[in-house]
Amino acid sequence: MAPSIADHEEEEYVHQEEEEEEDDIDFSDLHEQFEVQMEEGLDAFVVVDGLPVVTEENKPKLVKFLTKRLNEVGRAKADQIFMPIDEATGKSQGYAFVEYETADQATAACKQLSGIALDKKHTIYINKLTDIERYGREGRIDEQYTPPPKEEYVQQEHFRWWLSDINARDQFIMYRGDNVGVFWNKKKDTPEQIVDRLMWTEMFVKWSPLGTFLTSMHPQGVQLWGGQSWKRIQRFYHPYVNMVEYSPKENYLVSWSNRPISLPDGPHPLGPEEEGKNFLVWDLKTGTLLRSFANLEVRGEEEGKRKVQWPVFKWSADEKYLARIRPGQAIEVYEVPGMGLLGKKSVKIEGVVDFEWAPETVKLAGRKDTEQLLAYWTPEMENQSARVGIMAIPSKTVVRTRNLFNVSDCKLHWQSEGKHLCVKVDRHTKTKKSTFTNLEFFRVTEKEIPVELLELKETVINFAWEPKGDRFVIITQQEVPAGVQVGAAPKTSVSFYGPEIKKGSVGNFKLIKTIDKKNSNAIYWSPKGRFVLVGTVSSQQFFDLDFWDLDFDGEKKDQPTDVAANLQLMNTAEHFGVTDVEWDPTGRYVATSASMWKHTMENGYHLWDFKGTLLREEHIDRFKQFLWRPRPPTMLSKEQQKQVRKNLREYSRVFDEEDLYETETANKEVIEARKRALQEWTAWRQRTEKQLREERVARGLPADPFEKFKVKKEEATVIEEIVEEVIHESEEIVA
């Protein structure tokens, strides 16, 4: 099984070859299809139709006029226009033959000039002479329109079948060696394999954002797989594709290659407009290309030095807009699916460095309509301070700006519901000798978007919002005096923040706790919030993972009482060589993995529960990727969810029973298997030993083969030796 694009075609071809003997094949259809066009010399000729009927005298006038029009796309001299005159009437017949200099010019004429109006009455149609020969002959084209046969409706597989698993298990992908497999999570037990294919992908795999499709990457393009049979659902032709980005609702796809497309000679679905482009925007369901874009030329920076910031094209939450930045100049916002620039102009923002869409559609206070929001920032320029702005799209109105000073860098962090925007501002002192970080919080949903400022003395190296929450974790690092430490990375501090308890709204952000002298560099929140894993990832020396709970049930200890959180470290663990951390979409499990893409030491994965209990570890040679299958948002209403939460005990009892039953049966099976193994072994041993004894007796040997080597007891004598040794001698004078 090798479902790559090329192999698939080859497969079909081989299949055909095997099935039919060459002699029996009727090649006439192929002959027709691939008939070699012999009339090469006529390629430069076109037939112009729909001309006015003129008399002999007026003909030169018309020819002159026509020549002018026809020369718009190529060169056709007046004497190369042949307009036949009907001898009976002495008038022209409304058509003419024209010879262009080259066949290309003739093609261009057909494309560009056909269908234009000469005057009110006359519209000309231009066709290639060879085309008229080919299609215009009698019998070639059916006079009568016959509607194409209606395709039989085929029931499609359910693309979300995995959600109906009776035990609500989650699926994950493992890419190791050349195999890609999808598995059910079985907690402590060996994952249950659903499908496993060799060479399923040639670069990496990726789930679509709602988990419907599995994406495989090939030199020929991108393929999507899904359904219970894991069949191919769609493929997108893009030679040497490097990256792919889905729109949030899985309706569109952007693929990118660092090599500009150069159209191959063979058959392919791309048009001439795609030549030299890097980005292709696709409609996912139909597989049609919406638009192509080239890489932006970056001014003043050397080729190759600049890292590609992926994604380049960013989708708004409602998928209606696709935007990218023209660094230092503007943000280009395109309307989907028309793919035209919004308002036919890009949004000019001088100096703009980066922007981020709000991850959800946010309703601004005091406004009836909702718009998509995007945040952007501009650095300090002549006579102007650095600035962060929030803009509403499609109206392009700037709803909030804030000026910043002494800025060296900014990062924009939206909270997952778009309620808050945190701008991490790396600032430098006036002497530019040291840097520190300010966090500016924009309360997007509140009236006039108030901003709260949190000033820190250190630099923040990582920031993460709690999904659907108001709390966040930061990792800070003391500045390293230049050139002092070599090798040893400076210690980091992990700080937890939460809002003050305040009725009716979210209070000010306040520090819950700081843990110093850590090596942590990465924050992974559970997708459901509350739990967070803070760890050291992709480091050479440290591999620690801390599992935190922010709503611990027990008593609050040494932390402020007025903050809506109760922080508790649940477990600290280690995973040697960890490079990736992935929460499952339900927030029940975490997988940490060591990928051979980063290093080749102890590749494999560990599976933990949310409390940090190690459930399973597996070392797998040439392990590359571990990806949980995402789940679409729940379809239960808020009330239903509340109901579920209320009756959680009831449900959990059922699940506990099921789990218990499963482990019991599993244990039983193991014990049974062991019993069997032991019995078989014992039986075999008894048989062999009996046979051995018999054979020895038959040869007249004693039953114990080593009898003759045994030292007879009587011969051995015990020699007891008593050695006396003076250890210490001292004299004492007794008075």
């Binding site: 040697f576 080749t600 030491m601 102890e602 070392h619 040679d621 014990i671 062991r674 019993k675 193994a677 032991l678 072994w681 014992t682 075999w684 041993r685 008894q686 062999t688 030993e689 051995l692 054979e695 020895r696 040869r699 040997l701 083969p705 080593f706 080597f709």
Partner: protein, 340 residues
């Protein structure tokens, strides 16, 4: 379980062997010296000098009087254990990779390397147990391998067969009287070299270690694979423990790759598996190079391992080792004991 570390070799260990009483341990390494040790305290009894090349193999007869060694200087040498006196030297065209006495100590087999136009062979010699008596010059018979060379070989119970394990992952049996072929089985993965083979105490079954990262327990009579132990590293050696139903496996990355990888990744641990249930039950760390050879004390009270790092480590088992039992084993204590 604090090990006794024997630091007497300057180069990688190739084979270690306990004598039948388990009080002595013999070791060979790629330096040109054979060492004899007291296993109880790790004191060196003495060395045997004379070989001109790297030593590959050693064996001791059941009475602990004669020692046989094979080396890359293309010789087998017989030594008097007590004095270190050289008794006999047999010359071959190629290196000697494995020597072994049969259970009576009156026969010796040797595996010779395939090299420089010479095919690999197994030869069998009569051994005169009198240290002052003469030894025969010519072997009783010679088995020549024209397809895949043998890497290791051993005698079966009652000196019925010679079992050979091959470069291509197969094992074969030969009649121990005249060297005629009996049968061959592809026990391991195709073209994966079998690195070690050790007999159980009564020589009715044996364990093989292979580069395909598995070890297998095989019946001598039928060559049927009884058990398979799957690991995550190429194996160099495997041994069966008496007393307890375990096997000990050792290996690690190929010696040539060790310098490029960390100790942690090298997998230089001795691994204990349950012989019957094929499950890993423990590991012993310590070496900082791959394990080349493991020998188990004949009484089952300890084991020794020799590594590419030049050290031999002798371990005596703790009480926990002897107490360890699976649930199902506890239910049938009597039956288990009969199988020991």
């Amino acid at each position: 379980m604090r090990p006794i570390i024997l630091n007497g070799h300057e180069r990688a260990l190739t084979q270690i062997k306990f004598n039948r009483d388990g009080d002595l341990l013999f070791s060979t390494a790629k330096d040109h010296v054979v060492c004899a040790w007291f296993s109880a305290n790790g004191e060196r009894l003495g060395t045997y000098h004379g070989h001109q090349g790297a030593l590959w193999t050693v064996d001791i007869d059941p009475t602990s009087t004669i020692l046989a060694t094979g080396a890359a200087d293309n010789t087998i040498r017989l030594w008097e254990v007590r004095t270190g006196r050289l008794l006999k030297t047999w010359d071959f065209p190629t290196a000697v990779k494995r020597v072994e006495f049969n259970e009576d100590g009156n026969l010796l087999l040797a595996v010779t390397e395939q090299r420089m136009g010479y095919l690999g062979t197994v030869v069998a010699f009569n051994i005169n147990s009198d240290v002052d008596g003469p030894q025969e010059d010519e072997p009783i018979f010679k088995i020549t391998f024209d397809e895949s060379k043998a890497t290791v070989a051993a005698w079966s119970y009652l000196t019925k067969f010679i079992v050979t394990a091959h470069e291509d992952g197969s094992v074969a049996t030969w009649d121990a009287k005249d060297g005629s072929f009996i049968q061959r089985v592809q026990a391991h993965e195709q073209d994966m070299l079998i690195t070690d083979m050790q007999m159980a105490a009564d020589r009715t079954y044996f364990i093989t270690a292979c580069r395909d990262k598995t070890a297998k327990v095989i019946d001598v009579n039928t060559l049927q694979v009884l058990k398979t132990y799957v690991t995550d590293t190429p194996l160099n050696t495997a041994a069966i423990t008496p007393l307890k139903e375990f096997v000990v496996l050792g290996g690690g990355q190929a010696a040539s790759e060790v310098t490029t990888t960390s100790q942690r990744q090298g997998k230089f641990e001795a691994r204990f598996y349950h012989k019957i249930f094929e499950e890993e039950i423990g590991r012993v760390k310590g070496h900082f190079g791959p394990l080349n050879t493991i020998a188990v004390h004949p009484a089952g009270t300890g084991y020794a391992s020799g590594g590419e790092d030049g050290y031999v480590r002798i371990h005596f088992f703790d009480k926990a080792y002897f107490d360890f039992k699976y649930e199902v084993e506890r239910f049938q204590p009597q039956e288990v004991q009969t199988t020991a």
